[in-house]
């Protein structure tokens, strides 16, 4: 059982049960939708920018606990970041979910719970879907796919 908790640590289960910022924003400056067609997971990310920084982030979606918890955490983690910093963070999160090593930095106190996915290769995509979508939104894309 123990290693099941690596994929589903308390933070993940908490965010999956009580997703934060799960709504559409009123004013959206950037948005994108991400799909994992193999399993049907979907995440839409909405961003409101102020002076080039993310003032507010929210998401809508459906899917497994990991994908939805990851999206929920994302909305909390990117607040205040400029576009470049958000892209940087996103790449780090994706790397972490892939190899399991948690980078330094306060933003990773919550996000570190996504590192467990690395031990479940077929679930890495669940953990990264929201982040791929964030990147698409920031780059002005409309759609992203984790496949």
């Amino acid at each position: 059982m123990s290693d099941l908790l690596e994929l589903y640590p308390p933070e993940i289960r908490d965010h999956a049960r009580k997703p934060r910022n799960r709504r559409r924003l009123e004013c959206v400056d950037a948005t994108a939708r991400g799909d994992n067609p193999l399993c049907g997971d979907r995440v839409e990310v909405f961003l409101r920018l102020e002076d080039g920084r993310i003032a507010e982030a929210s998401f809508l979606g459906r899917g497994c606990d990991v994908s939805q918890a990851s999206a929920s955490m994302l909305t909390g983690a990117v607040g205040g970041l400029g576009s470049k910093a958000a892209l940087d963070l996103s790449e780090k999160v994706r790397e972490m979910a892939r190899i399991g090593t948690v980078p330094d930095g306060e933003r990773f106190e919550v996000l570190r719970s996504l590192a467990g996915a690395a031990k479940f290769p077929s679930r890495v995509k669940c953990a990264t879907l929201a982040w791929v979508t964030l990147e698409a939104a920031l780059r002005g894309g409309q759609e992203a796919s984790s496949e």
Partner: protein, 414 residues
């Protein structure tokens, strides 16, 4: 001996499958994903090795003894497939890389070669992508060939009224439907479908990827024009499948792939085509795989298709009793005639999470849309489903273990 009465000795059979004695974290491996690909018995592995160790050479080409032996063995595999499907002639058996290649072959050689502009292909809403995407690609190829859809009922059965309505439009050249759904387990009334199609002048293709593993198939009794199955689901190797097609069709169809062994004469400017089946088998064939597939066919023949069917019926009955007892579980589809494939969802957990959870108990099930996205849309299952599918080595105890693990999952994710 009446094979239908001979019970399957599952424990003995399991000993033929080395992988099944694996343990996962101290628990026995419970492999419930045979619908995606079945495990292989020792007999198949031995046959492949024997092919490489004692009788290997390229086939159809050499005038030396070793190549002649290899060619005879290879053609014996074709004959085994003919017998398995009860085809009238061995030339009606095309060896392909799998069901997907087989169906694509038909979409090209028959679809592009023999269908006429204005004609339509009909597929059902419950097709595997392998029997949908090739027809979409044909439609989009600018040849004026259309694509229509046969609806399914809420129970997950083929809606024969819908088929009839489409056929009556008079423009259907081919009906291409699954003989057994890889999601719902539904077995379709292939004989009736063929009759209806033929009455309206249409040809019929059955995707037998699942059905051929679970039912005795007789292409002559079904009056199938095309029938496809794939070796790896029939306890054989990957990389091989079979396309059955009526000889008159094969004779009229142009080739699909170009290369060695499918030609009669070649000059730089022109080639003429060999007779079937060679015309449709360009290049070095799957020689080692054919040896494995032959062994797989002989393996299931030795057990007896009737015994396998009886075993499967008992597994299906057991699953129909045990699975619905799991609180929060909803089965997908409720066809009358069904094989050992069960898709389901659980209220408390996403299929992906479920699959990961039961995997930690050594239980292998699939989660997702099982290469049947339109079907999942049709059934409102946007998050896909979890699927347990049985093989001839599956036991009642394994189904019980799944049910128990699903209960635990429900507590975990609640």
């Amino acid at each position: 001996m009446d094979l239908a009465l001979a019970p399957l000795d599952v424990q003995r059979i399991r000993q033929d499958f080395p992988i099944l004695s694996q343990t996962v974290r101290g628990r026995p491996l419970v492999f419930l994903d045979s619908g995606a690909s079945a495990q292989k018995p020792r007999q198949v592995m031995d046959a492949m090795r024997a092919c490489m160790e004692t009788a290997y050479a390229n086939v159809h080409r050499g005038a030396y003894h070793l190549s002649e032996v290899a060619t005879e063995n290879h053609e014996a595999s074709r004959e085994a497939a003919r017998r398995f499907l009860n085809a009238a002639r061995v030339e009606e058996i095309i060896l392909t890389g799998g069901s997907t290649s087989a169906i694509n072959l038909v979409a090209h050689s028959f679809g592009r070669g023999m269908l006429k502009p204005g004609q339509r292909v009909l597929v059902s809403e419950m097709e595997h992508h392998a029997n949908l995407v090739p027809w979409q690609m044909l439609r989009d190829d600018g040849r004026g060939i259309g694509l229509g859809f046969i609806r399914i009922t809420d129970a997950g059965e083929l809606d024969l009224d819908s088929l009839h309505a489409e056929l009556r439009k008079g423009d259907v050249g081919l009906v291409a439907v699954t003989h057994m759904s890889n999601v719902l387990g539904t077995v379709t009334p292939a004989g009736a479908i063929a009759r209806m199609a033929h009455e309206h002048g249409a040809r019929v293709l059955f995707d037998g990827s699942q059905a051929a593993v679970h039912r005795r198939v007789d292409v002559q009794a079904l009056d199938a024009d095309f029938y496809a199955f794939t070796g790896h689901k029939l306890y054989g190797p990957t990389g091989i499948g079979v396309l059955y097609a009526k000889h008159e069709l094969l004779e009229a169809m142009p080739p699909f792939l170009g290369g060695g062994d499918m030609i009669e004469t070649v000059t730089l400017e022109r080639s003429t085509w060999a007779a079937p089946p060679a015309r449709f088998e360009a290049g070095t064939p799957p020689i080692i795989e054919a040896a494995g597939m032959k062994a797989a066919i002989e393996y299931v023949e030795a057990i007896g298709m009737e015994a396998m069917e009886a075993h499967e019926r008992s597994l299906v009955d057991h699953a129909m009793r045990v699975l619905p007892e799991v609180e929060g579980l909803t089965l997908v589809g409720s066809a009358q005639d069904r094989g050992g494939v069960f898709s389901f969802s659980l209220d408390a957990a996403h299929p992906h999470d479920l699959s990961t959870f039961v995997d930690r108990r050594g239980i292998c099930i699939r989660a997702g849309r099982h290469c049947a996205e339109p079907l999942h849309e049709r059934l409102g299952l946007e998050s896909g489903s979890a699927r347990a599918s049985f093989g001839l080595y599956t036991t009642h105890g394994e189904i019980d273990a799944l049910a128990e693990a699903l209960r635990e999952a429900r507590r975990f994710f609640a």
